[in-house]
Structure formats: structure tokens, C-alpha cells
Symmetry: C2
Subunit: 158 residues, 2 copies
Amino acid sequence: MRWDDLDKQPCSLARTLSVVGDRWTMVILRDCFLGVRRFDEFEKRLGITRHVLAERLRKLVDHGVLYKTPYQQKPVREEYRLTDKGLELHPVVMALVHWGDTHMADERGAPIVHVHKQCGQVMQPVTVCSCCGEPVTARDIRVETGSGWQDLAKELLP
Amino acid sequence: MRWDDLDKQPCSLARTLSVVGDRWTMVILRDCFLGVRRFDEFEKRLGITRHVLAERLRKLVDHGVLYKTPYQQKPVREEYRLTDKGLELHPVVMALVHWGDTHMADERGAPIVHVHKQCGQVMQPVTVCSCCGEPVTARDIRVETGSGWQDLAKELLP
DNA sequence: TAGGTTGGGTTCCTTTTTGGAACCTGTCAA
DNA sequence: TTGACAGGTTCCAAAAAGGAACCCAACCTA
């Protein structure tokens, strides 16, 4: 399978990765969540080549994850901002950062910490069950085929 | 910057992506979480080329995300399993799947659902604050430089 | 005992993607 | 008039992915 066909897979993870799963997109989105908005600022911070950056930004705009909005006229200059759809990638970013903090940090600890505005504390993201509110780990989960997909059950699960 | 230098960045997200951030690794890990363990089963399910698969599995083993263990002698055959470090990527997988369910699903709905064994319900992952237990979104978070990184504060944040 | 199958790869070659640098286009300021 | 700035695009070389074929040890089976 070509990577380009990922979005046709009957798998939400594959479809998500077809948008954010290439080498640079998540790093661009990290900067978006930090408040970076302009082309040249992305370029400076990421050290990514301009034409890959331009293409990734275009793709994120096409998918409705970012939108362009002018911040000056004459000449028109536009900046990139997260849409609501983009903001909803925050749990993904938090989970990636948390794993890195736990498993890839050096003796200096986490480069960046997250403060929860409501409680004022430095926080780690915890994934809980939407029904009972208890923390969930991989071992607490059983996977089943979705109700619209019974016919593909044998293909979806090993 | 080359993508290969991501792991040297003072950023936990970049370091995490240096392990799981290429085109196929997360899809391989999705299958690991579904219980796939053998080379040929990965190949059949993913339709990925054998040599990319072999390289990705090797890299995940090198990083301690998977380990190889024999399931028969004569001839020795080994399978790949998630280590504890690998199991801790579960929140990342859940967050990616949830975003896909929300934003990339078709009329048939989620191909796969997650049942929380403890409460028996189909669940969605919710990210909450480790201190106060309240759900957090992007707008609830303020970012600060980690205590070991004050000297780099100007570089880390825009 | 020849021939095929299975699991788990490696090799080789072609096509796509990146990386890196240079170039283009309005607008403004010196 | 030259230069800077923001935001790209173009071009070419280098690296990675895709696809097919090959390898090998140990079975199985006719």
C-alpha cells in the first residue's frame, strides 16, 4: 500500500495519520499550539526547508486544521491559526509530549511544562474513560468492531 | 534541519517523533495494540513493503518500544511485543483514533470501538489534569519553560 | 527424496520525497 | 536606487519508500 492511500483505510488512526502523520506536520502543529503563526517564524524555529513547510501548511489548511487570516494589507500578509478541528488535536500533542518527557528526557527534565490555568498547577495529561472517569491504560481496553462495520469484522481485527 | 536530528531537539514532542514520527511506525503500533505480533501478519494487514517493515520493527526494538521473543524452536521463530514503554504509547494511539472518529469518519461511524473492561461501556478517551482531574483543552493550558531549561527560555517559546 | 511451503528476512532497482540553495514579487524605508 | 522583509516557487541532488525478486533453514507431503 502507498502511504497516500492511508486515508481510504477503514481505520480512524490511519485516516488521522493521512493528515498529520508525515515527518514534519506534528512539529508544525506543536509550534501552532505554542502560538507561532507566521511562515518565517515556523521556518526559523523548525529549520525545515521552505518548500516542505509551504506544502505542509497548505495541506493543513486544505484539511481544515489551520486557516489563513490576514494580519495586514498592502502588501497582504497572512498568518496561520488553528481551527477548532486543529485545537482538538491537543490531546495528541499532550500525549506525545508526555511520553517524551517520561522516556526521552535527559537529566535536565522536561524542556516545557504545562500549567493548568484553572487549578494553577503543573500538570500531566491523564487519559480517562468518558463513562466512568477512571484512568485507562492499554490493558483496561477491549476492542470491538463498530456497529456499522460488522461485515468487515474479520478484516479489522486480527 | 534534517529529520534525523529531531532527537537532539530540546523538545519532548520532537524526541518522541524521532521514534514514532515517520510514515508507518504509528500504524505498526496500532496493530501491536490490536494483538498483531508476527512479521507476515503485519505485512498482510498493512500492505507495507517488507524492507520498510523490517527496518521499522528493528528501530522500535532498538528504542525499547517492542521486544522480540521466540514462540517456537526449530526453526526459531520470534514475534514482536510491546514493552511497558511501548504500552505507554496507548494514550497517543487513543487520541489519534478519537480525532479520526470525530473528524474523518464516514456515515458508517467508527470502524473500531473501545470497551472499558472495568465499567463495561464503550468509551472515548478524555484528557484530564493530573492535579485536579478536570478535563483540559488547548485553551486551558499555559506553557512555561521547565526548571532545568531557564537558560533556553527565549529559544523554546516564541 | 524431490518439490513445495512457511516465516522472516535481504537485495536490487525505480519512483517519490526531502534537503538545500537560489530566485521571484510587492511594498516600504533610507 | 538599493536594500530589506514576508512569503513563497523553482531547480537539482540526496535520501527514503515502493515493488519485485531472491535467500535460507526447517518442515510437510506425494
